[in-house]
């Protein structure tokens, strides 16, 4: 059975060994860099850098390919549409009727696309190198209430199950003669109501049973807990945090100085 929305790749690589808080900082600084930076070369460099990081962390190319598989339509769309909608500056590459494709606008389109890809890959680095439990633990150490983290973790864990339940309910109603494809749009939409209601009821029952299970396991909201593997910032983490801090200040400084 699929274990749901889990990108995590279990390896003993430097990426996995980093504290989740460091990786969260990486995402934060990446976002800052990507949103403040403008030059396509810089943004491309960022993307290349991330790929090198992923490669050294021995993330299978299949996984990286998976993300590109989802990103390329959007990337292509941005590359094509940006110059059409934001023609600015000189020199003009090609003009036809009222459409002007200029070099600066093409470059801006490239930047925009690379920015979106960069954001996606920054989050990808976090998710692929951190298992859900550690991620929640990291967020909790940064101040998120444990209950929120538990809710998030349980939600992620049960989504595939609920998706399966939805499939079963759909089957059950179809086996009782529900013809999902027939009728007008209104009829078809109304036809989904029994399935959706049953799903809501099933979800409520599940949350009831989960509450009992949590209570039986000694869980008390707000009570102090320990962690089996407490998080410690190691030297590698401090190096990274230092480097990220430098990059961040440099980015802000250079931006303020209007270097680009």
């Amino acid at each position: 059975m699929n274990t749901g929305f889990d990108l995590y790749v279990s390896r003993d690589s430097w990426l996995n060994r980093l504290d989740p808080r460091t990786k969260l900082a990486f995402v934060g600084v990446s976002f800052a860099l990507l949103l403040l930076g403008n030059h396509p070369a810089l943004l491309a460099g960022n993307l290349v850098g991330v790929h090198i990081l992923l490669w050294t962390a021995r993330i299978p190319s299949g996984r990286i390919g998976w993300l590109w598989g989802r990103m390329w339509p959007l990337t292509l769309l941005i590359l094509l549409l940006w110059p059409l909608f934001y023609p600015t500056g000189e020199p003009v590459l090609w003009a036809f009727w009222r459409i002007r494709i200029t070099v600066p606008s093409v470059l801006q389109g490239v930047s925009a696309a690379l920015r979106v890809d960069g954001l996606a890959f920054a989050v990808f680095v976090l998710l692929v190198g951190t298992d859900q439990a550690r991620l929640v633990q990291g967020l909790v150490r940064l101040g998120m209430p444990f209950d929120w983290g538990l809710t998030l973790a349980i939600g992620l864990r049960y989504l595939p199950l609920l998706y399966g339940v939805y499939g079963t309910i759909t089957d059950a109603q179809r086996a009782r003669g529900w013809a999902a494809e027939e009728g007008s749009l209104v009829t078809r939409l109304r036809g989904y109501v029994p399935t959706l209601v049953a799903l809501v009821i099933a979800t409520l029952r599940l949350s009831d049973t989960l509450t009992l299970a949590l209570a039986a396991r000694g869980f008390q909201p707000g009570s102090p807990r320990t962690a089996r593997h407490p998080l410690h910032l190691r030297p590698a983490d401090w190096w990274w945090l230092g480097a990220l801090g430098l990059v961040f200040s440099a980015t802000v400084g250079l931006r303020l100085g209007r270097v680009w």
Binding site: A172, A175, G177, W178, A179, P194, A198, I201, A202, R205
Partner: protein, 278 residues
């Protein structure tokens, strides 16, 4: 020779993962038979059942219901002929009242209002659900919810009924009521297919048993013959009911060793004891 109500010809099915759920299964269940499908979880029982009403379409092979290939037909049309009861009643209950829930199938299949009225009343009466007709079924206890979904199936009176573990979680009393009602339908000529883990039930009621193991049909036949195959059952971790195991233990003393019920065992014992004394 009665025409098979359900016939699978070399059917295979594979879910998205690489492991095949069903491999080249061929079987036939004659009309009017009470059949049981047994096997460990993951053996393909549910896959087999879902092939019979079109919820799943075989990757290879053909499925014929009441003589007709169901390949092109939508599930909603097949539902007229094959009723399917899912294991968990909470995976279908949605209505605001038991009456509405039990009439759902009938309304979908386009029955007339008068007919719906009559059939729902009948189904409610069969399962003692009249006092709850206006209650929301989701608020009833588990046993009652189970009965609501069975009543909903009964109201359709399909020629073929497939029930996926209908007695799991029910106490013995409720189980006997359910089996009694099924027996009445069976007596009226309906074909009943039960997926179950309850060997006592199989021994007591089933006329034909199919054993699935790892996606293949291991063996099929009357329960008496199947329960005698002790090594085969042991291989798939299935146990005959206690009475049959007892009978098998006493085979060396002259007993036939294939008793399916307490009454049968006693008759066999009395016969052997009588002979031993004479």
């Amino acid at each position: 020779m009665a025409e098979p109500a359900i016939e699978l010809q070399r059917c295979s099915y594979r879910y998205e993962a690489a492991i095949p759920a069903l491999q080249e299964v061929s079987c036939g269940i004659r009309a009017g038979t009470w059949a049981a499908v047994i096997g460990q979880n993951g053996s393909g029982k549910t896959t087999l059942a879902k092939l019979c009403n079109g919820l799943l379409r075989p990757d290879e092979g053909r499925v014929r219901i009441l003589g007709q290939d169901i390949a092109g037909q939508p599930v909603s049309r097949i539902a007229r002929h094959v009723g399917y009861l899912f294991q968990n009643p909470d995976h279908q209950i949605f209505a605001a009242s038991v009456w509405e829930e039990v009439s759902f199938g009938l309304r979908n299949l386009g029955f007339l209002a008068a007919e719906i009225e009559e059939r729902v009343e009948e189904a409610l009466a069969l399962f003692g659900l009249e006092p709850y007709a206006d209650h929301p079924p989701a608020m009833l206890g588990y046993g009652l919810r189970r009965q609501v979904t069975v009543a909903s199936l009964f109201a359709l009176r399909p020629p073929v009924l497939i029930l996926d573990e209908p007695t799991t979680g029910l106490d013995w009393g409720a189980t006997q009521v359910l089996l009694g009602r099924l027996a009445e339908l069976h007596g009226a000529g309906h074909t009943v297919v039960l997926i179950t883990h309850d060997m006592r039930l199989v021994a007591q009621r089933a006329q034909w048993v199919l054993i699935l193991h790892q996606g293949r049909l291991l063996i099929e036949g009357p329960p008496r013959e199947l329960f005698a195959q002790t090594e085969l059952l042991a291989r798939v971790s299935l146990n005959p009911p206690p009475i049959t195991r007892l009978a098998q233990k006493l085979r060396t003393l002259g007993m036939r060793g294939d008793s399916l019920t307490v009454e049968e065992f006693y008759r066999d014992y009395a016969a052997v004891k009588g002979e031993a004394q004479s």
